[in-house]
């Protein structure tokens, strides 16, 4: 993918996770080293006292009230509500009119559509007579449901796409969005994604035996799996010329990106880290940056045995044993799956703005296989270029690079 003269820039962002709503709340929580992980109080599951999760601290009626939706309005799944809350937060940084009047694309992502609601009524869908109030949820399992809901709710008529590539889904939204801008298929792109916690996903990951019951320990010798989280995030992407023309504040340049497949295993990364290495190299090449110009890496860092070893090796190899500061923020938010890419992109941009390197929690023993170590203490730093990694099932690997203008 050749570089185009007009840069792709980020001019607004919206985010919700277990750390709260808005980028300021997120950066403040991380600076205070306050994790969002806890035993779930909203997700109704038999495993509620077994696994800590990154659960958003508002139930569905609470989210609806926050959005000003009448309490009895049907068809709003938790995935949709989280996504709309993130979108509403984004609108603090851009007038809705700009999006309504512009040539807009909405590139959304999630992994299981409205499963968080549908799993509670699925058996009654299979009955001969499903109560009418449940029938209104029959189409909400589709991944595109929340995308179309966002557009409708905010009175937008964008070109739309929904992406599902597991844990790298919303990172891919940003790649596709940036490319649509370059091709002139849109002048404004809202890119991101959202996922709600569900019993389906919790039991799925539990069946894979890669969940830690306690807060996860990314890049630690004694790491023991991931914690699931939920959340949503969106960024507004546009061409630099468009941002300058309308006098918008440019938050960051999306200076490089790369998507490569591991082609190794359905759920595990190539153990030598070659997949992660190829992807990070690809993003550097696309950005026209040397590895030494990266000041901070927000790693995928799920705290599973496989991921952290493969990703750690790749970082060690690419930077020849002397990497920049790197950390995983998954011990703050949990793994927000489809939302992880955009949530961590927004955190990375926040780190760049606040000049604060985000710490990696729960890391007391360095990994024996590695000579490098994650940044365990927050500290100030002049961050000009930051990399954000998202690696998913099916070997779907994405690296993004954000730069100061």
């Amino acid at each position: 993918m050749s570089a185009a003269p007009d840069k792709i820039v980020v001019t607004a962002r919206g985010i919700i996770s277990s750390l709260g709503i808005g980028h300021e709340a997120h950066i403040a929580a991380i600076r205070a080293e306050e994790s969002g992980l806890r035993y779930p109080e909203i997700l109704s599951t038999r495993h509620a006292r077994e696994f800590v999760l990154g659960e958003v601290r508002m139930d569905n009626p609470g989210l609806m009230a926050h959005l000003g939706i009448p309490p009895n309005a049907p068809g709003y799944t938790r995935t949709t509500l989280l996504s709309m809350c993130a979108m509403q937060d984004l609108l603090k940084e851009v007038p809705l009119e700009v999006l309504r009047n512009g040539n807009l694309a909405l590139i959304n992502a999630n992994t299981v559509g409205g499963m968080s609601v549908v799993e509670n009524m699925y058996l009654s869908f299979l009955e001969e007579h499903t109560p009418e109030e449940l029938c209104q949820w029959l189409d909400t399992l589709d991944c595109a449901e929340s995308t179309e809901h966002i557009a409708r709710f905010f009175g937008l008529k964008p070109a739309m796409a929904t992406i599902s590539t597991a844990c790298s889904s919303s990172a891919n939204s940003m790649i596709v969005g940036a490319r649509m801008l370059r091709h002139g298929l849109a002048d404004f792109v809202i890119a991101g994604g959202g996922d709600a916690l569900s019993r389906f996903t919790l039991n799925g990951f539990n069946s894979l035996k890669n969940l830690d019951r306690d807060p996860c320990k990314p890049f630690d010798e004694h790491r023991n799996g991931l914690n699931l989280g939920e959340g949503a995030g969106y960024v507004l992407l546009e061409r630099e010329s468009s941002a300058l023309e309308r006098g918008a504040r440019i938050l960051a340049v999306l200076s490089g990106f790369s998507n490569h497949n591991d082609a190794y295993h359905p759920t595990a990364p190539s153990p030598d880290g070659s997949g992660a290495l190829r992807t990070m190299k690809g993003a550097l090449e696309h950005a026209g940056l040397a590895a030494s110009e990266i000041d901070y890496i927000n790693a995928h860092g799920t705290a599973t045995l496989n991921n952290d070893l493969a990703e750690g090796k790749a970082i060690q190899d690419l930077w020849e044993g002397r990497p920049p500061a790197f950390s995983s923020t998954k011990a703050f938010t949990g793994h927000t799956l489809a939302a992880a890419g955009v949530v961590e992109a927004i955190l990375s941009i926040g780190a760049m703005h606040s000049g604060w390197i985000l710490p990696n929690l729960n890391n007391s023993s360095p990994m024996q296989e590695l000579s490098i170590r994650a940044t365990i203490q927050g500290s100030s730093g002049n961050l000009k270029n930051v990399m954000s990694n998202s690696f998913g099932f099916g070997g779907n690997n994405v690296s993004l690079i954000f730069s100061k203008l």
Binding site: M1, L126, M160, L185, N203, K209, Y264, F393, G394
Partner: protein, 355 residues
């Protein structure tokens, strides 16, 4: 987007005998109960015995279609793999959610969870073809396959280098899915024989289908007999002027309406959605209109079957009588326009020309 995609291979598993195209419509396959399930092939020819044992049928269908498309094109490892699916691994999802409820969240089978992940087939195809390039999965209802093609168009426009992209789609029909979406009035009630779909065009509902279709697309002509020239995706089809968009598509291609040999329309026999195709005869003569959903059934990525069929028609130079009742003359097939829509309000326009 206007960007040429040369079709190096086209392979489909569908309710018809399409996988071996020599047998296509010999005879046409119809069902009495309004459900068109795909005709299975010998999946063991494409997937190892160890892997296939735990693999769901849609995974087997998808991987086999993709691998055959690569084989026909003579490409061992594509530069990119881009797919679209409306519903992904439905059977695996259904099993997993019901087991979870039945076992009260007890120990579960991870295979079904993994295979219900929408990009699971992409990962397998990448592994089997050692393709470490770009890999993407779109899950936007009736636009899923169209978005995969749009992405392929963007990739082609991003490079002058020769590129081979494997683009495809997959969706499966299950009894449970049919039953559940029936509550949303998706289907004809009572169910009708599928060959009578268009005799029931004055009532709501349609017939259900499924299938997979994969294409190796290139920015070089190679051995292609057909190319995709233009693709338009309509997200609010009811509010958009389809006629104006069709005219614009033809204008930009420098084609008069008379140059179109066949207009393949996605009419699904549902009286509520007929509006999409109304008054097309003001643009095109009646005898160039053809239909395909009585052969494929309706599903999110039925467009994949339509693109396969259009390529097949250009390849053979024959419009099957099953697609078109009133064809008066066989003419040189140079340009085919596909107009499709899906139940939930999206539509698309695709122009294909002889390469």
């Amino acid at each position: 987007m206007r960007q040429e995609l040369f079709i190096q291979s086209a392979v489909a598993i569908s309710p018809q005998l399409s996988f071996d195209r020599n047998n296509f419509l010999k005879p046409a396959v119809y069902q009495q109960n309004g459900k068109l399930f795909a005709v299975d092939i010998e999946y063991r020819n494409y997937i190892s015995p160890v892997a296939i044992r735990r693999m769901s049928r849609i995974m087997q269908m998808t991987i086999s279609t993709a691998m055959e498309a690569l084989k026909v094109a003579g490409i061992s490892s594509p530069d990119a793999i881009i797919t679209g699916t409306g519903r992904g691994g439905v059977t695996d999802m259904e099993h997993f959610v019901k087991d979870m409820i039945r076992l009260d969240e007890g120990p579960m089978n991870p295979t079904q969870f993994i295979q219900s992940t929408y990009n699971s087939p992409n990962g397998w195809i990448a592994m089997q073809s050692t393709s470490t390039g770009y890999n993407q999965t779109y899950v936007h209802r009736g636009s899923s396959f169209e978005l995969a093609l749009l992405d392929a168009q963007m990739m082609m426009a991003e490079t002058g280098e020769p590129l081979h992209i494997l683009a495809g789609c997959f969706d499966e029909l299950t009894e449970e899915y049919y039953f559940i979406r029936g509550k949303r009035d998706y289907w004809k009630k009572p169910a009708i024989p599928t060959n009578e779909l268009y005799q029931h065009g004055d009532t709501p509902g349609t017939i259900a289908g499924e299938g997979t279709a994969f294409f190796v697309l290139s920015n070089r002509p190679g051995n292609a007999v057909a190319k995709i020239v233009d693709l338009r995706i309509l997200y609010n089809a009811k509010e958009q002027n389809l006629h104006a968009l069709i005219k614009n598509t033809l204008d930009e291609a420098g084609l008069a309406p008379e140059a179109i040999s066949l207009v393949l329309i996605g009419d699904n026999g549902d009286s509520r959605q007929r509006a999409y195709y109304q008054d097309l005869t003001t643009l095109f003569p009646e005898d160039v209109l053809g239909r395909f959903k009585h052969l494929s059934g309706e599903f999110d990525t039925a467009m994949g079957f339509a693109v396969w069929l259009a390529e097949h028609i250009i390849r053979t130079g024959i419009v099957p009588e099953e697609c078109q009742n009133n064809r008066k003359t066989e003419s040189d097939i140079r340009h085919i326009l596909i107009l499709n829509h899906y139940i939930l309000g999206t539509a698309s326009i695709l122009l294909m020309s002889r390469s």
